[in-house]
């Protein structure tokens, strides 16, 4: 692997190096998860495409750092290598929530350099096929009648992505999310089983994990939580916004760099992501990861990240979930 890269480097590097003023050396992608986790896939699959398509001329090795739901990784880059130009860290919307709730200790959205997104999954509100809820409006009406009467279940703790997703819907219905009857399960699969078994009535899941049950007609999706309708099998599912509920839930996946990553390196990686997104083979590779198009990089993306963390922090304050005052 290394030897091949060394042989290839002299041939390929000059053009890129001149263009960028930066050449990656032994770059690494830190996945704040064990092999098999979502972050691990983000790193391994994305970096493989980057190398195969010669967007980044050297192999990017994936390093797993699963400790403390991602807290260990952000501590690591801040403490050990704040200026390292050769390290990317995978993140998702879940990382934003953790920052907002103070789970990463003193580290927040301003302690990293946001490089960009590679794609996004989107939240969906799923019910069983024979559910009395036929539209999002039905669910909103039921929430208004008595928000504690509708058992909602999903993977993840109170305060996690799946909880926040449905909490936003409850709030849009004018209800206090704290009064929801939320039941956390061990993984989305167990929650889907509970939905099919009739133990819970609503499953706020992700689009990528419900396709099979949707195709088989076992579940109905009340809404997708995206800005526009999603393609393919989801084309007939209205967005929440279409149904008058102003809630979106993209599960953005992408990379950040260390807080003092030099500008040359930062620009290099931003450009690499931009070229990845423009590459003709990328849509297929992205779909394989269960991700839809979500192309945003650089400063524009950093602004979005900061805005979202601020919003989530507000929500966390409203329900009393902030661990450490920022």
């Amino acid at each position: 692997m290394n030897r091949r890269a060394l042989l290839a480097a002299p041939v390929l590097l000059p053009a890129i190096a001149v263009a960028q003023g930066f050449t990656p050396q032994n770059p690494e992608c830190i996945a704040p998860a064990a092999p098999g986790g979502g972050f691990d896939l983000t790193c391994r699959l994305t970096t493989r495409v980057m190398q195969e398509q010669n967007i980044v001329p050297v192999p990017i090795r994936t390093q797993n750092m699963p400790g403390g739901i991602g807290a260990v990784a952000i501590n690591h880059i801040n403490a050990q290598r704040p200026r390292d130009p050769n390290v990317l860290v995978a993140f998702s919307t879940g990382s934003w929530l953790n920052m907002a709730q103070g789970r990463f200790g003193r580290f927040g959205e301003n302690d990293v350099r946001w490089i960009g997104a590679i794609g996004a999954d989107f939240g969906v509100i799923a019910v069983k096929a024979d559910s009395p809820f036929r539209t999002l409006a039905d669910l909103i009406a039921a929430f208004r009648a008595n928000v504690s009467a509708v058992p909602v279940g999903s993977s993840g703790a109170v305060g996690s992505q799946d909880w926040t997703k449905i909490a936003l819907v409850a709030r849009a219905a004018g209800q206090d999310p704290r009064r929801m009857r939320y039941v956390p399960f061990e993984g989305g699969g167990a929650a889907m089983a509970a939905l099919l078994g009739g133990h819970i009535q609503v499953f706020p899941g992700d689009a990528s994990e419900v396709g099979g049950q949707l195709d088989a007609g076992q579940i109905r999706l009340l809404a997708v939580m995206s800005a526009q309708r999603l393609p393919g099998r989801f084309a007939n599912i209205p967005t929440a916004r279409e149904q008058g509920v102003d809630v979106e839930w993209p599960i953005v996946r992408g990379f950040y760099g260390p807080p003092q990553m030099p500008d040359a390196a930062y620009n290099y990686w931003v450009d690499a992501l931009r070229r990845l997104q423009a590459h003709p083979t990328w849509p297929e590779q992205r779909n394989a990861q269960g991700l839809f198009e979500f192309n945003m990089v650089g400063e524009e993306f950093a602004a979005l990240a900061r805005q979202r963390v601020a919003e989530y922090r507000q929500l966390a304050r409203d329900v009393g979930m902030v661990q450490v005052a920022q």
């Binding site: 690494e28 390093q63 704290r178 929801m180 009393g320």
Partner: protein, 142 residues
């Protein structure tokens, strides 16, 4: 006998600490009827009870270690390994640790050296090369 009494006290201590910590959990809002405290408190009570029984009715004594020095030395070797893995690198640290453990298992120095180096090389090949899981380079160039 005294060992079991101490053990019972240790269990009671852990149970108290855990029970106290669970009792004092501040929940942002009651998301489920039970909450995070009752279960650990129940477990702490059972554990404390078991500890109390051990204090009152000890069963066994602690078998006096046959080699007093060897276990602490092994622990020291392992802790040093954990701390030096990043600065020294995987291969040097592993070679040193494996050689030290071999010596504790009564190997001759030459044997220990071979074991250390071979272990480090084999494991580095297995994890870093075959499984593509990077290990710390440390002072070596690779």
């Amino acid at each position: 006998m005294i060992a079991d009494r101490l053990l019972g006290l240790a269990f009671i201590g852990i149970a108290c600490a855990a029970g106290f910590s669970a009792w004092n959990l501040v929940v942002p809002f009651a998301a489920d009827p039970l909450g995070p405290s009752p279960f650990p408190i129940t477990i702490a009570l059972v554990m404390g009870l078991c500890g109390a029984i051990l204090v009152v009715q000890p069963v066994h004594g602690f078998e006096r270690p046959e080699r007093l020095a060897a276990p602490p030395m092994l622990v020291l070797a392992m802790v040093l390994y954990a701390l030096s893995l990043v600065p020294l690198g995987f291969m040097p640290a592993t070679a040193l640790m494996a050689a030290a453990v071999a010596l504790l298992f009564s190997a001759k120095p030459a044997q220990a050296a071979v074991v250390g180096i071979a272990t480090a090389l084999v494991l580095w090949g297995l994890f870093d090369k075959l499984l593509d899981l990077p290990l710390p380079k440390g002072i070596l160039p690779f």
